[in-house]
């Protein structure tokens, strides 16, 4: 009978059904899934090691042996891109998850309880916003030291206020709705109201923002790596490859084109997913 349909978490179920009908979003998911597979199986796929140097082949254009050419140390660009996807995707997703979870929680609590709680939390966020993000990230990563995990933490922390503000605004608009009062009249606890009523109705813009922020985080991590605070060479990372290719922009433009393309494809795919999610999370869309 209907039992299964009515008892499952229908919000996510119908979101998925609607998402499946959006071809662009599906394409985005496929691209991201492929990238994740590439990252996981990097050792098997990559034709060369990421640090294998060949001094006979310095800055050679794409050829049959090196499909995407070689860099200034004679390393295979394709292999480095494949290994680099590990770092870039991890940084992108994990850093954003950190800011999403912490920022979202702060915003939700501030918006829902209001008053003093709201004031204290949001002023802290304001203070953080007032510090230039790059400066803050430099301070955090130099305090924690270089390394992948620390890089993700630094990028994650610097983006918390954006999510907190967005979540708070979204919660505030939902909080005034009568169905929240209806839930209170039924005797629902704060926890239940936040989880079952506020969250599902206010999460949509935040999730969309998150998919768009992944791209931002990848580029931000590249900036930190460039400053010597992120991933240390020779381990490759897309943003780092891009900045290393800068001196050769004129003569060996493929060195910057390919990492740029990799970043671009990821971002476009994520944006497609973000757009699709925004539409799919709207319950008023047809099932």
């Amino acid at each position: 009978m209907a039992s299964n349909i009515i008892k499952g978490n229908s919000m996510w179920k119908y979101t998925l059904i609607r998402l499946r009908r959006n071809y662009l979003a599906v394409a985005g998911f496929v691209v991201i899934a492929l990238l994740i597979l590439v990252a996981v199986f990097a050792e098997r796929i990559a034709p060369y090691g990421y640090s294998d140097q060949d001094y006979m082949m310095i800055r050679k254009s794409p050829s049959a042996a090196h499909w995407l050419g070689t860099d200034e140390f004679g390393r295979d660009v394709l292999s480095r891109l494949i290994y680099g996807s590990r770092i870039s995707l991890q940084v992108g997703f994990i850093a954003v998850s950190i800011s999403l979870v912490i920022g979202g929680a702060i915003g939700a609590v501030a918006g829902y309880f209001g008053g003093k709680t709201d004031n204290i939390l949001m002023r802290i966020m304001d203070v953080q916003l007032a510090i230039p993000t790059i400066l803050l990230a430099i301070v955090i990563s130099s305090a924690l030291g270089p390394g992948l995990f620390n890089l993700m933490v630094a990028v994650g922390i610097t983006h918390i206020p954006n999510f907190a503000r967005l979540m708070r605004a979204s919660v505030l608009s939902v909080k005034g709705m009568e169905f929240i009062e209806a839930a209170r009249a039924m005797g629902a606890t704060h926890k239940r109201i936040i989880l079952m009523y506020i969250m599902p109705n206010s999460i949509a813009p935040v999730i969309v923002q998150a998919t768009l922020s992944v791209a931002n985080a990848i580029l931000f991590a590249a900036t930190l790596s460039f400053l010597g605070l992120g991933i240390q060479p020779p381990y490759p990372e897309w943003g780092g490859m891009l900045s290393a290719a800068r001196p050769y922009l004129r003569g060996n433009s493929y060195l910057s084109i390919f990492p740029g393309l990799a970043i671009m494809i990821t971002i476009v795919a994520l944006n497609c997913i973000g757009d699709g999610l925004r539409d799919a999370l709207d319950p008023k869309q047809k099932r």
Binding site: I6, S10, M177, A182, A183, A185, G187, N201, P283
Partner: protein, 321 residues
């Protein structure tokens, strides 16, 4: 004498706002006998909805007493309060914003049962289906979402949700104001059938006098946070005493072209409820005001059997002992 299920004594609810304190409910005393309906009439901002919410404990009272079945609800412990939520329920005005758009009809109606752990598993489903039947929702709609339904059906969900916990007392906060006339009639009939079958006690809040006339046993008229007149339904419509009640009654648009109309058009607007001046709150708009009205606030006084009015002039003119 019937027993009062709800008794409100000298209830006050002030909100502190920028520029002073807003007297939303100011010294209101009311009682509703078990199984009857009190119609609470007034215009927007008169405090009728605030009163309904304070009575249910959704808003904290500033002072006063609320007795529910003889117990003071303002002194309830947390456990007693959650039980009270099962005994006293509310139906909201707007069937569009009062239902969580992410929940299906099933989830919406099951929610009060789950929150209060009344039952579980297959019993929930059975109860939901029974409730849907009670309020006249077809069972096939059980997986629908609110936005797929029209206003009337949505309001039926709101009613089913309020009935789920078998309450004794239901606050109906403008339950038909957002609905079209033909749908409004369906919901009004439903509410009156439910009352007949289950003996619910209603506090029916509305700005629409014709609707109140139809559903109420007793009627109380509110103006700027105070009850200005209270009486048996027929008596109030036949013999209104407070000048505001008279003006309100004369302003109701009617479809009977031959009904005699002695329209009293009130001048001006309702004054601000922020720190109101002493004296009768209606006096600035009142055509019949005397010297005393601006100085001294009138008390609600019985001027006929069960007919209470708060107006110096009406009280002086009556010869009720």
């Amino acid at each position: 004498m019937s027993v009062d299920l709800l008794e409100v004594r000298n209830l006050k609810k002030y909100f502190s706002v920028h520029g002073g304190s807003l007297h939303a409910v100011d010294d209101v005393s009311l009682s509703i006998p078990k199984g009857s309906t009190l119609g609470l009439v007034g215009e927007s901002g008169c405090g009728k909805s605030t009163l309904g919410r304070v009575v249910l404990g959704l808003l904290e009272a500033t002072s006063g007493e609320i007795l529910f079945g003889g117990e003071n609800t303002l002194a309830f412990t947390k456990d007693r309060l959650s039980k009270f939520h099962q005994e006293a329920q509310i139906v909201f005005q707007d069937p569009f914003s009062s239902l969580n758009p992410r929940m299906s009809v099933y989830q919406l109606i099951a929610e009060p049962l789950l929150i209060n752990r009344v039952c579980r598993g297959a019993e929930v489903e059975a109860r939901v289906k029974k409730l849907m039947d009670t309020v006249g929702l077809a069972e096939r709609l059980i997986t629908s979402f609110p936005h797929e339904l029209d206003g009337g059906r949505r309001q039926r969900i709101g009613v089913a949700r309020a009935l789920a916990l078998n309450p004794d007392f239901i606050v109906l906060d403008e339950p038909v104001s957002a609905l079209d006339v033909s749908i409004q009639a369906q919901i009004l009939n439903l509410l009156s059938d439910l009352k007949k079958d289950h003996g619910y006690t209603y506090l029916f809040i509305s700005h629409n006098l014709s609707v109140v006339r139809y559903v109420s046993d007793e009627v109380a008229v509110m103006y700027l946070g105070q009850v200005v007149e209270k009486s048996d339904n027929r008596e109030l419509f036949k013999n209104p005493m407070h000048p505001y009640t008279k003006a309100l009654l004369s302003a109701v648009p009617v479809i009977d072209l031959d009904r005699p109309r002695n329209r009293i058009i009130l001048e001006g607007d309702v004054p601000s409820p922020i720190d109101p001046p002493p004296g009768c709150r209606f006096s600035p708009r009142c055509a019949a005001k005397g010297d005393r009205c601006a100085m001294e606030s009138p008390k609600l006084v019985e001027v006929g059997s069960g007919h209470f009015v708060a107006c110096h002039m009406a009280i002086a003119a009556s010869c009720y002992p």
